[in-house]
Symmetry: C2
Subunit: 174 residues, 2 copies
DNA sequence: TCCAGATTATCAGAGCCCTGATATATACGT
DNA sequence: ACGTATATATCAGGGCTCTGATAATCTGGA
């Protein structure tokens, strides 16, 4: 990986010109004593930024990658179905899919048995984009898995799922 | 906690008019077999939406609440310091603080020993907003803690912190 | 048959969050 | 003292996400 090989020790002294020492991630209230919601937010922000950085050269965003992956996994989907699967509102799904249609990665076509539903299908461009993006996100996924002790993975996954179901379902009644 | 008491069985039949049965949160690839990044995204989305819903009546957003909490916890902060603490870019921090200044919750004043830095301090309005918002977010925090087996809390917190430090640090070199 | 409710798609507006770029201010080595 | 590097604040632009509102479509029961 060789991320920061310290090509020169030009930053030996203080990191920032701040007067007070503020905690870095992992210290103080930013560490194990912080609110769970805050820690979850912080971890998610780090992962999202890592993913966006990994995808930058492909020309698609992380939400766009998620939608393409869902369409590939479940077959042609409607905007409403994408919204439910991705835990976003139908309006947000519409924003993302509209951008993907403009990019040529998705195509809309009417549902054969429902005059209002528009199904989204992957185009050749979309499949190519996904093929280029996938290894990059898998690298992040591996970095993420590397932070995880083996015996801790199963309970963690169960907890993440449980949070989504327990807190997510009540909020779906909008 | 009595979350889903099933007040009426008016939705007994199919949930949605979809032809194919798509997994709900917790099922299939949306469950314990999914990518960690996906599960983390899903859990975070659920928590964020729960928080936004809880804060809706207060007139502030969750990011605004986070910034107000940071200023309260660490004293007057600059925009750059807020960005580092909240794991967002300085530009984003500037957006949020500008909105909070417009709301009258924060006030900018020049740093006594640095002619460029603008420090942000809580106003009376800001303290009142925070006082009204805090119990609401604490309720969500309790719901979140309720999903957590006691012996699992410590390793979970450590993992969340580790993700932020391990994946967050390399991405800071922008 | 017809109407009420549910589902879907989409417009409008606002806030968050990013990248890129610009201008000012401080710190440090030469 | 000067110049480079570092920090900070902020403008501009675009994508994501939400709430609210509107219209079209379908389903099921009176």
């Amino acid at each position: 990986m060789s991320r920061k090989e310290a090509k020169s020790p030009r930053k030996t002294a203080q990191e920032h010109p701040v007067k007070r020492a503020l905690p870095r991630a992992g210290e103080g209230k930013r560490g194990v004593d912080g609110h769970l919601a805050y820690l979850l937010r912080q971890a998610h922000a780090a992962v999202r930024q890592a993913l966006e950085k990994a995808l930058a050269e492909t020309g698609i965003t992380h939400p766009q990658f998620v939608v393409l992956t869902l369409v590939r996994a479940y077959g042609d989907l409607s905007g409403a179905e994408i919204a439910r699967l991705a835990v976003i509102t139908p309006q947000t799904a519409n924003t993302i899919t509209t951008n993907l249609v403009r990019l040529g990665a998705l195509a809309r076509h009417p549902d054969p048995s429902h005059g209002k539903v528009l199904r989204l299908s992957l185009t050749e461009t979309g499949r190519n984009l996904l093929a280029r993006a996938r290894p990059r996100t898998e690298a992040v996924e591996r970095d993420l898995a590397a932070t995880l002790p083996a015996e801790f993975e199963a309970p963690l996954r169960q907890w993440l799922v449980r949070v989504a179901t327990d807190l997510g379902d009540p909020s779906r009644d909008r």
